[in-house]
Symmetry: C2
């Protein structure tokens, strides 16, 4: 048991990998918790941390990408996002944000890259965590997009804050990343 775990009451006692792939690992874990020091058995899907970036243009609009999502058999409007390769630290998180912005929208950030905290996509079964950013003064870059061969990004769309908000109200924006960014921007009073 690590010291931090002892102090907090959390500690992993046993772990068995049920399935290990390059994209995720499914473990059966036996974990002590503050309210269950004897431990509880849980299935956990481990995923690399992700980064989501909300690109804002000089005229105050937001850029969303339309992407095919195989797991839900749908094309979704969402913000550029991607997983962090290797170690997760402030540097790699920001690098990933700028890389995904460039590759998925063909734009670059000439203003600020403002952190909006992080969130857990589904803490009932996965440790997946996404770090959120607002990128301002986003403009086209010389090299354009550079899509990953496994991604199917169909288009980049430009939406006023009002249009984006209306898409959320109407249930047209349905991915956690994009809703989480909207929540943080609204709560911080920097939506528009």
């Amino acid at each position: 048991m690590k010291n931090g775990e002892a102090a907090s009451g959390w500690g992993i006692r046993q772990s068995e990998a049920l399935c290990d792939t390059p994209h995720l690992r499914l473990d059966r874990e036996f974990v002590a918790t503050p309210s269950r020091p004897a431990g509880i058995s849980w299935l956990v899907v481990h995923r690399r941390a992700a980064v989501v970036v909300a690109p804002r243009t000089p005229d105050g609009a937001y850029l969303l990408i339309r992407q095919e999502r195989v797991a839900v058999r749908r094309e979704l409007w969402e913000f550029p996002a991607g997983q962090i390769d290797g170690e997760v630290n402030e540097g790699t998180i920001r690098e990933t944000a700028l890389r995904e912005l460039g590759e998925e929208t063909g734009r670059e950030c000439r203003g600020e890259l403002t952190p909006l905290g992080y969130f857990f996509s589904s803490p009932g079964f996965t440790d997946e965590c996404a770090h959120l950013f607002l990128a301002t003064e986003v403009v086209p870059r010389a090299e354009g997009c550079a899509h990953d061969e496994h991604e199917s990004i169909l288009e980049v769309g430009k939406f006023s804050p009002r249009q984006w908000s209306d898409l959320i109200a109407q249930g047209e924006i349905v991915d956690a990343n994009t809703l989480a960014v909207f929540a943080r921007l609204q709560a911080r009073g920097i939506f528009s």
Copy 2:
């Protein structure tokens, strides 16, 4: 191929279960998409659909539960939520919302149960979908809470809209369910 799939361009060609458990199933799928009619291989975690309910009290406050989440080794403030047993339809979705409200907060809804649409928690790797509701005129029920033996709900907290918004701004609310509800309430102009 079903007619709907043929019309939309989406269709599953092959599926192999890599791991099957009562809580989730991990499949390697080969799926045709509108932009890739020849198909693409993808790992998909299948989960039952969930329901999330935002309980609002007669004086306009929101109730959040403090819950231990084993997968992220954290106690989180979040809205009551649970998975739908059996068939997913309007009836079972609403039943699940009212059941989770009762079991996890010990309260019942004397007002309206207003649907706020659904969202996907992480469409890059799972089909998990959560249906969102606002429950109004929420008051204590005679039988109190009825916690599931696998859950560790530590307390029920009452927050004004401003307090809840501040927790989001400060990064203290970090689960997708609760952020998604906040986004939909804000976008629809029914936050408070």
